[in-house]
Symmetry: C2
Subunit: 283 residues, 2 copies
Amino acid sequence: MRTCRGIASLRRALAACAGKQVGLVPTMGFLHEGHLSLVRACRRECDVTVVSIFVNPAQFGPSEDLRRYPRDERRDSALLRQEQVDVLFVPGENEMYPSPYRTWVDVTGLDSKLCGRSRPGHFRGVATVVLKLLHLMRPQRAYFGQKDAQQALLIRQLVRDLNLPVTLRILPIVRDSDGLALSSRNVLLSARERRAALALPRCLRRASGLVEAGETNARALRAAMAAEIAREPLLTIDYIAIVRLDDLEDAAEIAAGNTLVAAAVRVGRTRLIDNFIPGGMSC
Amino acid sequence: MRTCRGIASLRRALAACAGKQVGLVPTMGFLHEGHLSLVRACRRECDVTVVSIFVNPAQFGPSEDLRRYPRDERRDSALLRQEQVDVLFVPGENEMYPSPYRTWVDVTGLDSKLCGRSRPGHFRGVATVVLKLLHLMRPQRAYFGQKDAQQALLIRQLVRDLNLPVTLRILPIVRDSDGLALSSRNVLLSARERRAALALPRCLRRASGLVEAGETNARALRAAMAAEIAREPLLTIDYIAIVRLDDLEDAAEIAAGNTLVAAAVRVGRTRLIDNFIPGGMSC
């Protein structure tokens, strides 16, 4: 595995891969099995696997957890070497946003809903850094997790709108044995918070069970989900949303393959998200 | 010359050019010698010359001259065939902005000054369409005229910020025999307006003469330029600006190679721009 800290060194590493199918797995590091499932898919489907680790300051608001965000480059690097990743890109902030940095990408409409409501500017940061990484690596395929469903939908729209020649692969949520969706932020939870957090996947399982049993009414589903969260006093609801995949507007009914059921909660200082897409999502 | 009206047909035309150096000349059509100077440079420097003609609605404000903007595809097409252009891309609006279109690019700071002040949203439209064209053609080189200096500077910043693998070529302003900078909008002028418009290049020649004679004070230069325009009652000044190339902030003194001297005026319903860069501009 070749580790590149600068853009010049990355370009040299990629020049050696000319003519090969390149796959990109962009991450913020502190890797877990969710990330590794993306890396393994990339390894199966592409000739060259490039992973980036960059805790992108542009996607954190001033009151958010940029400084608290967990980091462990040594462990990450060892994990990726084990997975036989070809190139690891670990740029510094000045490499990605050299001063004066001025250019930002907005995916309007999709960026202000759900997580965008409590994280203004977040998706501008995400869209911009992903576009930069796509320009730097020029991959044929790029891999994202469905855990960040809104991010995936927004990048799908960005790729379509900007005519980017890349195939997106959105892979399923990976969960811990207790059901909690894997997230680098889970390590920030105390044992008590962690137990409380399980109400989040429980509320999604409840909704999923009701949908399987034939319930399609969004209001009824949201009520059942909210009740599940309300039983856990350590959690506060940020949002419970049943929305159309293409515009993230409220759906009155579940439409298989075009509805996102998503929730975000706060546990202490940590914010957690989870979701499912009845009928699955295509790119 | 192969004419492509759709993205699919463009991709097929470009697939046949794999491995060759591609140059892009993006235009809004109604071509003049300024455009053709870009086409000729592209032909000299690249294996494949791609010209786009798209009157980009996103860069016109609601009160601007989108509908009045001159068009003549047949004449343009004949001129480009004469120049032995390889590919002409003439997309429709739905091809470039299929509904729902959501993604926009802002080059903050550079987009709100000079022309951006009287044309809010203009540079967002420019940045977005240029980025889309760069993704579609993946050229090694892209050609722009210095007549639209702010546009050129903004695209230079966009290319740097977004790590786009393209070399920009900014070529000199081409003028008519009477000194007026060539512009597709010149055809909109009446004979009387056209004569009046000559005060614009005159004011820039006056500034250029003063700079050559050793004047470096921006205030003195702006005053001389304004006086030149004021002598022509049909013109109103939109702006007279002496600014730094890198951030478009007011410069107190001319610094060779890092100062833009620019003016915009209105003649009747038509807005005209012109500029010079003491010491020239590098990309």
